[in-house]
């Protein structure tokens, strides 16, 4: 692992998944990308394992964690959700804003249903990552590694509204036209 870390290259901000929790994002060797963050407490570790089992987390944990950090290997081209420009056109092979917001709602709804938690703000969108060019049936959207540290218990009143309120005003403005899709996806996710 140390040998691999010595070959790391800088990564463009457009791709960097760093979000305050996840502190390192690097290209390692010829074609691997690793992210890392400090290991959480036992409750957070438990949550991380549940998120991983549920298939929510981008990439795969690297087994040989150091005592201080959790490492994940992630797809090289994965991008942070909050730096995506709008895509209006869709179709069977297009991943439009509407589709994206539906998936974001469904993912948030499933996190609520399975963990009784919402992704905390004030910029909850920075916890999510997009993978482009996928085969039909695969998922475009995941939470970035370290998301367990951003989860807070779901408030009893109106969890959907509570989750929406955790996104930044800029993000809500950008996807204003697709917020109904977020709500539809959320309802699907909690079922």
């Amino acid at each position: 692992m140390i040998e691999a870390l010595q070959q790391q290259t800088q990564i463009s901000k457009r791709y960097r998944l760093a979000n305050g929790v996840l502190t390192e994002d690097m290209l390692v060797g010829a074609n691997q990308r690793w992210v890392a963050y400090p290991i959480g407490d036992s409750h957070q570790e438990q949550l991380r394992k549940r998120l991983e089992l549920g298939g929510f987390i981008l990439g795969a944990a690297i087994k040989s964690h150091t005592p201080e950090k959790t490492y994940y290997t992630v797809p090289i081209g994965a991008r942070p959700l909050h730096l995506e420009n709008n895509v209006v056109s869709g179709g069977q092979f297009g991943y439009s804003d509407q589709h994206l917001m539906y998936d974001l709602g469904e993912l948030s709804g499933r996190i609520h249903a399975e963990n009784n938690a919402i992704v905390a703000g004030p910029r909850a969108e920075t916890a999510f990552a997009i993978v482009d060019f996928i085969k039909p049936g695969d998922s475009h959207l995941y939470v970035a590694p370290g998301a367990e540290k951003l989860l807070i218990p779901t408030p009893e009143d109106n969890p959907l509204e509570a989750q929406i309120s955790q996104f930044s005003p800029d993000f809500l403005e950008q996807y204003h036209d697709s917020l109904h899709s977020f709500a539809d996806g959320y309802m699907r996710g909690v079922q």
């Binding site: 090289i76 995506e84 179709g91 997009i130 482009d132 475009h140």
Partner: protein, 330 residues
């Protein structure tokens, strides 16, 4: 009022599903898979035209649709029956060609991920042009998408050019610039600084111009490097010209296209852009992000004082014409 409505005259718009289905159908009827061996001499006056003739010669005489592939993808010529699986993506949705993406698999299970660009019947030569210009850029040693091949139809059908899908890039029109600028002004400026220098390099190579240098045709790599792609309309000759009008014609078109794509509003129904300068004077913004560095780099690449004088003359003319053009579109 006539009973004929306006809608009655609107032709059916082909959907992405239709485009993919048509490609799959044509691919399944390919009778001939060949290797394309181009001999490009970039010091000729019009090497692209000569290369296109070579492609047509290589694909001539087949009894059905022909798939002609770059030597790097020769494995597609063995085993027969090349299949295609389309990908879902956010990329390429502003492409006028209706580009789509997916994976080619030959009978032996070997695969290559590709971007597929359809070319209408009346412009089928552009599939060969697209392939040849990409091969020429490869020969120049500039970073580019690897050309995979062309699929030439037998009858009056669509032609296709294919290049290798690179999962480690995205295009500049995919970025939420407002958010990136807010997050890291330095990174934002660094990207455009590279665009300025790369454009200057291209225009310093001889008689080379990209021909369609909009933000959607500029790729950003995961390591932060940028490179222009989609060279289908490129002018590509390493023969330099001292004629200022000829050089100006090449550079002006690229800079005008780039400037328009940076200036125009994302909400525009015609040539929607990035809207980077909505809160400042557009020329000041463009000059600061691109033009000053472009001009300095161009002069820096001049090989002798005479060439430097030519470049300074060209750059002055560019500045004047781009500012005038901006008054029309702004």
């Amino acid at each position: 009022m006539s009973e004929l409505t306006h809608e009655a005259y609107i032709p059916d718009v082909e959907t992405e599903e239709d485009r993919v289905a048509t490609f799959e159908q044509q691919l399944s009827s390919v009778t001939d898979v060949r290797t394309l061996n181009l001999e490009l001499d970039l010091y000729q006056e019009d090497p692209v035209r000569i290369g296109v003739n070579q492609v047509f010669a290589e694909t001539y005489g087949a009894s059905g649709p022909t798939l002609a592939v770059h030597p790097n993808f020769e494995f597609l010529t063995t085993g027969g029956d090349v299949g295609f699986q389309a990908f879902s993506t956010r990329t390429g949705k502003r492409s006028a060609h209706g580009v789509f993406f997916g994976q080619l698999t030959n009978k032996e299970g070997r695969t290559v991920e590709v971007a597929v660009k359809p070319h209408a019947v009346e412009a089928r030569h552009s599939s060969a042009t697209d392939y040849v210009t990409n091969a020429a850029v490869e020969k120049l040693g500039m970073h580019n998408l690897q050309p995979v091949g062309v699929m030439m139809p037998h009858n009056e059908e669509t032609a296709y050019s294919l290049s290798q899908l690179d999962r480690t890039i995205t295009t500049l029109d995919s970025i939420n610039w407002k958010a990136l600028r807010k997050q890291d002004r330095g990174d934002y400026e660094q990207i455009w600084s590279q665009v300025a220098r790369q454009t200057a390099l291209i225009h310093s190579l001889g008689s080379v111009a990209h021909g369609d240098l909009a933000a959607r045709n500029i790729a950003l790599k995961v390591d932060g490097g940028i490179f222009p792609m989609d060279w289908e309309r490129a002018k590509m000759s390493l023969n330099p010209t001292r004629d200022v009008e000829a050089r100006y014609a090449l550079s002006q078109e690229d800079l005008r296209e780039l400037m328009e794509s940076m200036v125009r509003s994302p909400q525009g129904s015609f040539k929607a852009g990035l809207g980077l300068f909505e809160h400042e004077d557009s020329w000041t913004g463009f000059e600061k992000l691109i033009f000053t560095e472009y001009a300095q780099t161009r002069v820096g690449y001049a090989r002798n004082p005479a060439e430097a004088r030519d470049v300074i003359e060209e750059v002055a003319e560019l500045q004047s014409s781009l500012r005038s053009h901006l008054r029309i579109i702004d």
